[in-house]
């Protein structure tokens, strides 16, 4: 991934107990990349969120769309479970890879925030009787495209999310906006179109989250675990 060394240490200075390697321009680029994207590459959180969406879709199929109380309970339960698990994942990353505080830079919202915002906008638009493509898929697609451009070639696999989101947008755009029948909160046809789009969104988050984690684990091989204190 990082190519051959292009610059060697002209002074040839080595530590007495060895274990040193020359730092090449490519190494420096790798170190800067993994440090800058350290929090974004902690993909288990994103993968968990994707898995929660997929589980939620399965659950929603079991709940009638007219039962808004049970739907709200299911969403609240899912968020609680996700919150608890996300905290454990944070601690795991901190104990395995360490911790850092990033520099202030152009804020890029993480995929979880983007998708949550998209869900809220989708719900708001659908309840207002409007159709059109899934906003969650649109926002995730744009955010994935931004990641591909910014982190090329390291995170080029986010291109898969872009393609999946385009398919989800096309599928959800085809569903017409129809007022829900009496007793339903959302028109079932529109709900199914959105759920199909969310399935793609959830699957994309699950896969890219796992690949992000793998990239972190390979670029930041775990030498020590558990203690962030100097000796």
């Amino acid at each position: 991934l990082y190519g051959k060394p292009v610059c060697v240490d002209p002074f040839g200075e080595q530590l007495a107990d060895g274990g040193e390697a020359d730092v090449t321009f490519d190494d420096a680029r790798r170190i800067r990349f993994v440090t800058k994207r350290f929090h974004e590459l902690q993909g288990h959180r994103t993968a968990l969120f994707g898995g929660a969406i997929l589980a939620g879709i399965t659950l929603i199929h079991e709940v009638p769309l007219s039962d808004s109380g049970r739907l709200a309970q299911a969403v609240a339960f899912g968020l609680l479970v996700y919150g608890g698990a996300a905290e454990s994942i944070n601690r795991h990353y901190q104990s395995r890879f360490g911790n850092l505080r990033g520099r202030r830079s152009f804020p890029v919202p993480d995929p979880i925030t983007v998708v949550m915002l998209g869900f809220a906008l989708d719900l708001s638009l659908t309840l207002g009787g409007r159709g059109g493509p899934s906003v969650a898929a649109e926002l995730l697609g744009v955010s994935a495209l931004w990641i591909v451009v910014r982190d090329w070639p390291w995170r080029s696999y986010h291109l898969g999310t872009v393609v999946a989101c385009v398919a989800a947008i096309a599928a959800s755009a085809a569903a017409p906006a129809v007022a829900p029948a009496a007793g339903d909160v959302i028109d079932p046809q529109r709900a199914n179109a959105l759920l199909n789009a969310y399935f793609v969104v959830g699957m994309s988050l699950l896969v890219t989250g796992l690949v992000d984690h793998r990239l972190l684990a390979t670029t930041l091989p775990c030498m020590e675990e558990g203690h962030a204190d100097a000796i």
Binding site: I31, R101, G226, A228, D229
Partner: protein, 110 residues
């Protein structure tokens, strides 16, 4: 204009040592990092990392902050403004050496 060899000789040796270069490069991409992260990103042993951090601290390139998080001691390391400027100058000079070396022609053997 200095020759490539003069530029090479004027490189900051405190930064130029490979392990210390890896440390300051990582620190240049963040505000501060803990000891465990630096261990993982550099691949050094605890003893080596501590030794290099002490040298960088003595040279005024990094600041070391010890604190407790969840009742555990954590060591954070941060690049000082002097360290940030030193690294910037280092890469500038090294890039100059690289460009200068391309203009050199091999001596003809007689």
């Amino acid at each position: 204009m200095p020759t490539p060899f003069e530029s090479l000789a004027s490189l900051n040796r405190l930064i130029h040592e490979p392990a210390r270069l890896a440390i300051v490069t990582a620190l240049s991409a963040c505000d501060k990092a803990d000891f465990l992260f630096l261990l993982n990103v550099t691949g050094l042993t605890k003893g080596n990392l501590s030794s290099h951090l002490s040298k960088l601290e003595q040279g005024g390139l990094v600041e070391i902050e010890k604190r407790f998080e969840r009742r555990l001691p954590v060591t954070y390391v941060r690049l000082t403004p002097q360290g940030r400027e030193g690294l910037k100058q280092y890469w500038k000079r090294l890039d100059g050496v690289r460009r200068g070396a391309k203009t050199l022609k091999p001596l003809r053997s007689t």
